[in-house]
Amino acid sequence: MLEELEKLQIKALAELDKITGSRELEQWRIRYLGKKSRLNQILHSLSILPLVERRSTGARANTIKKTLEATLKEKEEILGEALLLSSLEGRRLDVTLPGQPISSGRFHPITQTLEEICQVFQNMGFQVVEGPDVEWDYYNFEALNIPQDHPARDMFATLWIDSDRDKKSRLLRTHTSPMQIRVMEQRRPPIRVVVPGRCYRYEATDATHESMFYQVEGLAVDKNITLADLKGTLFDFCRCLFGEERKVRFRCDYFPFVEPGVEVAITCLTCNGAGCRLCGYSGWIEILGAGMVHPDVLKRVDIDPEIYSGFAFGLGVERIPMLRYGIDDIRLFYGNDLRFLRQF
């Protein structure tokens, strides 16, 4: 019987070695290790053997069973791994097929620009506040040193809600500057705010004029705030938005509510200052108006101009993406053509 067992083991191992598929492996398992296998029969018939033989045969049969089982396990692992690899081989992906589309929209370019602008100023300690689009004449003009019949009213073609003309008339704000007054009425220095918002003008629209546009107003009031600080703040701003290489120019300009008044220009983004059609061959593009808050404006909100000083600026928002991306028609922004909006 021992001899039979030895032969069985040799045969079994030899067969196992040749097996390549999992089905054959299962058949092999049933043949050599299954309930009806010879080995199992031998193990079950041990009791009929004489004691001495039973012990040696039994021991040998068990060893063989363990060997077979261990070898089977090894074989299973080898085959399993091969199977894993072959399963991948069969399932080749065309990875160039497009992915499952997840539709996503974009922010309007004005929203994007506003966020950028506000972020730059917030980093400099400015707080973002907002104000009403419909304003009193008082805030939009009167309190900003532009009383009735002031020639500077020509600078602001106005859409009126009320048809009479006094400081109790309502209008669509022509700039975000009325918020200078509203903020200073409520807060005491130190003040640092920026105010994004919609503005309106009574103006025929064309490629460079819109009846509705966005501005960002800035205001800083405290002791010892100077024109040099305004320069520093706006130079930083221009650097952040337009890059290191952009030159910034401060020139004298007039706005009734600031003194001294400033117009800020940057070197043209198209020609880099050489002069082209876009910049009217001057090399400069005007981007904002600014200045030191007029002493009469400070007095009007009970801030002593002898002690405090401040600067203010008003920045046209559309201008920035127009310059950056070479957009030649301002009307595209509020025309909301998806073929335009999707580009940003």
Binding site: L97, I102, S103, G105, T111, Q127, V128, V129, E130, G131, P132, D133, V134, D149, H150, P151, A152, L159, D162, K167, K168, R170, E185, Q186, R187, R192, Y202, A204, T205, S211, M212, D222, N224, I225, L227, A228, D229, K231, T233, F235, R249, F250, R251, C252, D253, Y254, E259, P260, V262, E263, H294, P295, D296, S309, F333, N336, D337, L338, L341, R342
Partner: protein, 857 residues
């Protein structure tokens, strides 16, 4: 203001090139818009003199002219009718660049034979030189034009177009600009010497002046010139200067008044003295308000009706001029005029401004008066005009000048110091430098102490009122580029709390934008102003639920009303885009709508409540309540922020994996559920049966209100086909609308209530059941009963079935119910028991039965 450099050079030495000068002026506040060079292309063109004219042998209309150009006497073929011997003319030789008189194109003069005769050059018309459109004949130069010098030297000029800011009416003049240039370049200004001979007869015997409204006319000066010769054009140089500055020469008298206006900035008017009605005795100039409906025919021949807001110059019988705006037809100077009364006056700025606006009559005179001129300017300008008039038209001046000056005021004195310059600009400037700069601009500075001066502005600078104005003067002349660059060193204001309403508002908007963009919505920004028609289209019955605010002076009917919702703009945008967007459209906008009245103060006496603070943008309301200006009955509209989104088309973008099902109500609702989840808000939906305001425009079958914290925060539903049709939209369009003010209030109030829940330690168990109910039973009723049982933590509807396997008029809900206990692991028996009770209740209350028996119950 157009300024001729040649003219400027009479008053100030100019060493800079036109371009350099333009740059310096621009930097100092006088923006030069354009530089127009006259004669820049005039090469090979010189001043010549016609010495002989002979007929052309082969053409009757052409002549052969011999032109002396110093270095020779070429002969040219010429067809101009006005040519004659002795004329000085512009002569172009071969190679000159000219403008073709017929086509207007630029041409280079080539050697040519005209009807067989060689022409050795060309005598040019003004059009050919690019000076004007005149091509009637050749341009005839004044006899004094020096022979053979290049024309560019004789007639060339550079015209600067300066954008003069409203505070500087003094620079609406050549002398004003010359003063600026002198200060910028450190040169001196030379003004004309004002001197002329006067006759014996005093002006008082001719005219007197009576200013009835001294508030509106602070000064009235007049001179008189007798025996002048009117029928004579003004000299070429004067005409040329007027033209270069954009004015048309008219007659010698009128040209003088215009010339002096350009030179000094003071508008003048010339009356035909003999047309003034004398009444009893000498004529009187009366400055008064017009009577109601008083009539005048102005110089331009237009009959105008006046009112008392308008100031007139009158004689004893009638108005003879609209003060500061336009003279009268009756008293205009004509060819017969031999005596002229010259007016140089100062009128109230606001009166002129209102008057010219009212009459819609803006001109060079009103343009200057409405900026506010100084009365001191009237006298030198009048003297200058009288002097020129005598030169141009001969005659004699009456002795003296009438000068009624009720508005005379003392010169201002402003205390100033170097400290003030540094305090406002950060630029350190010595007091001597400051005095130097201010003096160069005509300011008179007196030392008060070693660090302080007292400054008196020159009369033409009415804009200078305070030390800050002086700071600007000093810094702009020194140069803004000299101002140092520093970063803000002042202390920071207290930073806003992240819990504040303002911070929460911007946070909320940011979250909503991010979420919607992530769901495939494109953000749009539409106009605040819309047409009434569009607002009406929003409701199937074309009714306006909220009357919108109207603009009093709209530009177009398209932009006449303030939007009361975002729908109109968004649906129009949708319409605009659908032609080129076959794959479906998703749009949204977050923005303000304008409601005529604030809900918290329906009438002004109630005042603003706490509500007002929450719903209006940060700063707006506080100052309203300050009562600094009570605005009477009027109030500012309620500017409320809203979110509106529209969606249509397939659920997913077209792809090789399919799912091209169109969007339906549940897609729109799902977006809201996810959005509210993102905001950590509990949400429910209430079928909207009849809420007239928001629901109109959505179909009743497919619309629900969005509820959170018992507040209706918005609505979602299918756009009514009538509305879709009105906006010409194709396909089903779903609309989402959320009131951001309400949402913000909830988000803000929920913030402190938020508490963490420990993670459940015991496993949960899920059971699936399928219930059959009557068709009219809404899902919500089933879910509510299931959720009311203890230990139920989640109910998910995973199938809805109608069809063969269940009776007609019934539907089947397949639910997965999840149970969990915070205290222990649940047993099957426990769950069986709960579920049995649940089924009993469902059966009792809703008549629900289990769909099949082999479900595990």
């Amino acid at each position: 203001m157009k300024v001729s450099l040649k003219w400027l050079k009479e008053y100030v030495d100019l060493k800079l090139t036109p371009k350099e000068l333009a740059e310096r002026l621009t930097m100092a506040g006088m923006e030069v818009k354009t530089i127009e060079t006259i004669g820049a292309t005039w090469n090979n063109i010189v001043v010549g003199q016609i010495t002989a004219i002979n007929p052309h042998p082969n053409a009757d209309r052409l002549k052969l002219a011999t032109v002396d150009i110093g270095k020779g006497s070429p002969t040219v073929v010429c067809g101009a009718p006005n040519i004659s011997v002795g004329q000085k003319v512009p002569f172009a030789s071969v190679g000159a660049q000219l403008i073709d008189g017929h086509t207007g194109e630029t041409i280079l003069l080539k050697p040519a034979k005209i009807r067989g005769i060689a022409s050795e050059g060309m005598v040019c018309s003004e059009k050919e030189l690019g000076i004007s459109d005149n091509h009637e004949g050749i341009m005839v130069l004044p006899p004094e034009a020096p022979l053979s010098i290049p024309l560019s030297e004789y007639l060339g000029d550079a015209i600067l177009d300066i954008d003069v800011t409203p505070n500087r009416p003094d620079c609406l003049s050549i002398i004003g600009v010359a003063r600026e240039i002198a200060a910028i370049t450190g040169e001196k200004v030379h003004l004309p010497e004002l001197h002329y001979e006067e006759s014996e007869t005093p002006i008082n015997s001719f005219v007197s002046v009576n200013i009835v409204e001294p508030e509106l006319c602070s000064r009235y000066c007049a001179s008189l010139v007798l025996n002048l010769i009117q029928d004579r054009p003004s000299p070429d140089w004067l005409q040329q200067r007027l033209k270069n500055c954009g004015m048309r020469p008219i007659s010698n008298i009128v040209d003088v008044t215009n010339y002096v206006m350009l030179e000094y900035g003071q508008p003048l008017h010339a009356f035909d003295y003999h047309s003034l009605k004398e009444g009893n005795g000498t004529p009187q100039i009366i400055v008064r308000r017009a009577a109601d409906d008083e009539k005048i025919t102005s110089l331009d021949g237009v009959a105008r009706t006046l009112n008392p807001a308008i100031l007139v110059i009158a004689d004893k019988e009638r108005p003879v001029a609209i003060a500061g705006i336009m003279g009268g037809w009756d008293t205009e100077v004509t060819k017969e005029t031999n005596t002229v009364l010259l007016e140089s006056a100062n009128f109230n700025q606001a009166t002129i401004r209102r008057g010219s606006n009212h009459l819609r009559l803006q001109n060079e005179a009103s343009l200057r008066f409405d900026k506010g001129l100084n009365p001191n300017l009237a006298m030198p300008a009048l003297k200058r005009a009288t002097q020129l008039l005598l030169q141009m038209a001969g005659g004699k001046a009456a002795r003296g000048i009438v000068d009624a000056y009720p508005g005379k005021s003392e010169p201002k004195m402003i205390a100033f110091s170097a400290y003030e310059v540094e305090r406002l600009t950060g630029l350190k400037v010595g007091i001597n430098k400051i005095t130097g700069v201010l003096s160069s601009l005509g300011f008179v500075c007196q030392e008060i102490s070693p660090s302080q001066i007292s400054v008196s502005p020159p009369y033409w600078r009415s804009d200078i009122k305070s030390a800050a104005d002086l700071v600007e003067e000093v810094v702009r002349i020194i140069g803004y580029d000299k101002v140092p660059v520093t970063r803000l060193g002042s202390s920071l204001p207290q930073q806003e709390s992240m819990l504040s309403l303002g911070a929460q508002r911007s946070n909320l908007k940011k979250k909503l934008r991010n979420f919607l963009v992530g769901c495939g919505f494109q953000e749009t920004v539409t106009y605040t102003l819309v047409s009434l028609e569009k607002l009406q289209k929003l409701s199937p019955n074309l009714e306006l639920k909220i009357p919108p605010l109207k603009v009093a002076n709209p530009m177009t009917r398209e932009q006449e009303y303030l939007r009361t919702n975002l729908r109109a703009g968004l649906l129009s945008t949708f319409h605009h885009n659908q032609r080129h967007e076959p794959g479906g459209i998703r749009l949204f906008e977050i923005g303000k709508v304008f409601l005529p009245q604030h809900p918290s103060h329906p009438s002004p006496d109630k005042g603003g409540g706490g509500e007002g603070l929450l719903v209006t943008p940060v700063v707006a309301t506080l100052s309203e309540t300050k009562g600094k200006q009570s605005q009477g009955e009027r109030e500012l509209p309620w500017e409320k922020e809203m979110l509106c989104a529209v969606l249509s088309g397939p659920r997913a973008e077209m792809s090789w994996r399919g799912d091209t099902k169109p969007i339906d109500f549940f897609d729109a609702k799902g977006i809201i559920e996810a959005l509210m989840n993102q905001l950590k808000l509990k949400t429910s939906f209430k079928p909207n049966d009849n809420d007239p305001e928001s629901s109109s425009g959505l179909t009743q079958e497919a619309r629900v209100n969005i509820i959170s914290e018992n507040e209706e925060v918005g609505i979602v539903g299918l756009l009514h086909p009538k509305v879709a049709k009105a906006f010409e939209l194709s396909g089903e369009v779903y609309l989402i609308e959320i009131d951001l003010e309400k949402l913000l209030k909830i988000v803000h109030s929920q913030l402190p209530a938020m508490r963490y829940q420990p993670i459940q330690r015991f496993p949960n168990v899920s059971r699936d059941i399928a219930l059959v109910v009557d068709e009219e039973i809404p899902y919500k009723k089933v879910a509510k009963i299931v959720q009311s049982f203890p230990l139920v933590t989640k109910v998910t509807l995973f199938d809805l079935y109608r069809g063969e396997q269940i009776p007609k008029g019934k539907k089947s809900f397949a639910l997965r119910i999840t149970y969990q206990s915070p205290e222990r692991t649940l047993t099957d028996e426990e769950i069986d028991q709960i579920q049995q009770q649940m089924l009993d209740k469902l059966n009792l209350e809703l008549g629900a039965t289990l769909r099949s028996n082999n479900q595990k119950v």
